[in-house]
């Protein structure tokens, strides 16, 4: 089928099968391999992307369901100069990245939370990343990084 959608602010026009998952469409057809395949059954969150601004598991969604809509993958999250944005920078500073496999999904889960709640409690942060498994870090550093970014963005909001 013909696909017409916006991925990371860029219009995409291409042909792909109707029965593939959004995850495989992103990785195999668009070569956006930042989105990871962990469990492929909705349990680990490594494949998380934003669909019309909402956090979803791309392994559970058909690419066809995203047709005509807006998708943001980890490749679409960066600072203006293309380097890491404030949240990604905080992940580095707080030692929230070890093997890195869960991180694209974690960053998107963090962005999805901060887009809707600029002042989350630690419990709210934990709840927001509950669908994202990390085998390495023990989560504390990830929660710290998201919390620190929330505080920074609040300060920036007050200054602007």
């Amino acid at each position: 089928m013909i696909f017409d959608l916006i991925v990371n602010e860029e219009p995409i026009h291409t042909e792909a099968p109707a029965d593939i998952s959004l995850l495989h469409f992103l990785r195999d057809h668009l070569k956006l391999t930042g989105t990871k395949e962990g469990c492929n059954v909705g349990e680990c969150g490594a494949c998380s992307v934003l669909l019309d601004g909402k956090l979803v598991n791309s392994c559970l969604i058909l690419a066809a369901q995203a047709n005509g809509r807006r998708v943001v993958t980890i490749e679409g999250i960066h600072a203006e100069d293309g380097g890491p944005n404030d949240l990604q920078q905080a992940f580095i500073e707080y030692g929230a990245v070890q093997c890195g496999f869960c991180i694209p999904g974690m960053v998107l889960a963090g962005e999805a939370l901060l887009n809707s709640n600029i002042n989350p409690t630690r419990a709210e942060i934990r709840e927001a990343i509950a669908g994202n498994l990390c085998r390495c870090t023990g989560y504390q550093q990830i929660v710290d990084a998201i919390q620190a970014t929330a505080l920074k963005r609040q300060e920036k909001g007050r200054r602007d």
């Binding site: 109707a18 059954v41 909705g42 598991n57 969604i61 058909l62 369901q65 709840e127 669908g131």
Partner: protein, 293 residues
């Protein structure tokens, strides 16, 4: 080769046309959180999916008179944040909050949860507690069933082939009604051994129980209200002893409905404790201590 095709319906009537178009084995697709996995296991399930998740009229949540109508394609997240349901059916909000994680709540719909009718579907006990009705359309007929009539047994409903569950409807319980939803079990799609209880009730002006509704999920072959438990409460003044007795009755009713199974060993004490805890919270009596998990 594609194992199945995809069409997106813009309206309910278009969805019904697609679902009944000859030459295809069609199946509705809402949030896809169950169906995509089902299709991987069983590719013969359908040869075309009809996407009903973007039909605007299936997302409306509205109050008409004393009833609340919820479009079947409303996601768990939409329900959780909806002011009408938060005010009139908080027990359903509590149930939806326990579903999966953010990603699953953003995609998964209440219609898909009911139509898939897994034994562990979390919206079901809350909907049955609210005496919710399900509206099902085919191109030529309309059916209105209670949710407990609709669900015949786990993964089996009365929705006919080519039919569409379009909405769920409940009558707003009288003011003073309190509801509690409790879930025991891992947060895991593969967790089959778990229990839920939904309890709703109200006291009259003399402090006696005027309304008591009690449902458990994953405990009986067909999801239904536990009438023995409810009858034991009606007209009584709530006390911790009454709540403990109700917990015991719930386990007897579960065994009568589903027989004694391998899982009963753990389900019996767990259900007794969860029942008395939920009812104690509904009727605001001190929770029985010690016995509670």
């Amino acid at each position: 080769m594609e194992r199945f095709g995809y069409v997106r319906a813009a309206t309910i009537s278009e969805a019904l046309t697609f679902l009944n178009q000859p030459g295809y084995k069609n199946r509705p697709l809402a949030g896809s959180t169950d169906l995509v996995l089902l299709l991987r296991r069983n590719p013969d399930l359908c040869d075309r999916v009809v996407d009903i998740s973007l039909i605007p009229e299936m997302h409306t949540i509205e109050k008409t008179g004393n009833d609340v109508i919820i479009g079947a394609s409303a996601s768990f997240s939409e329900i959780i944040s909806n002011p009408i349901i938060r005010e009139t059916g908080p027990i359903l909000v509590e149930a939806c909050k326990t579903v999966g994680a953010t990603q699953i709540r953003n995609m998964g719909t209440i219609g898909g949860n009911v139509a898939n009718a897994a034994a562990c579907a979390d919206s079901l006990p809350a909907l049955v507690c609210l005496d919710a009705m399900a509206r099902v359309l085919t191109p030529s007929e309309e059916f209105n069933w209670t949710v407990s009539e609709l669900v015949i047994s786990p993964n089996k409903t009365r929705i006919p082939a080519g039919g569409l569950l379009v909405s769920l409807r409940y009558t707003i319980p009288p003011s003073g009604t309190r509801g509690v939803f409790l879930k025991l079990g891992r947060r895991n799609a593969m967790a089959i051994s778990r229990l839920t209880v939904a309890a709703l009730g109200r006291l009259d002006e003399n402090g006696r129980i005027a309304d008591a509704r009690f449902v458990t999920g994953s405990a009986a072959p067909q999801i239904c209200r536990f009438k023995d438990v409810e009858t034991s409460l009606l007209g009584q003044v709530p006390t911790p002893a009454l709540m403990l007795a109700a917990g015991k009755l719930a386990t007897e009713e579960m065994i009568r409905l589903s027989g004694y199974r391998w899982s009963s060993e753990y389900k019996v004490p767990a259900l007794a404790a969860m029942t008395s805890r939920a009812l104690s919270r509904v009727f605001q009596v001190r929770e029985p201590s010690g016995e509670v998990v």
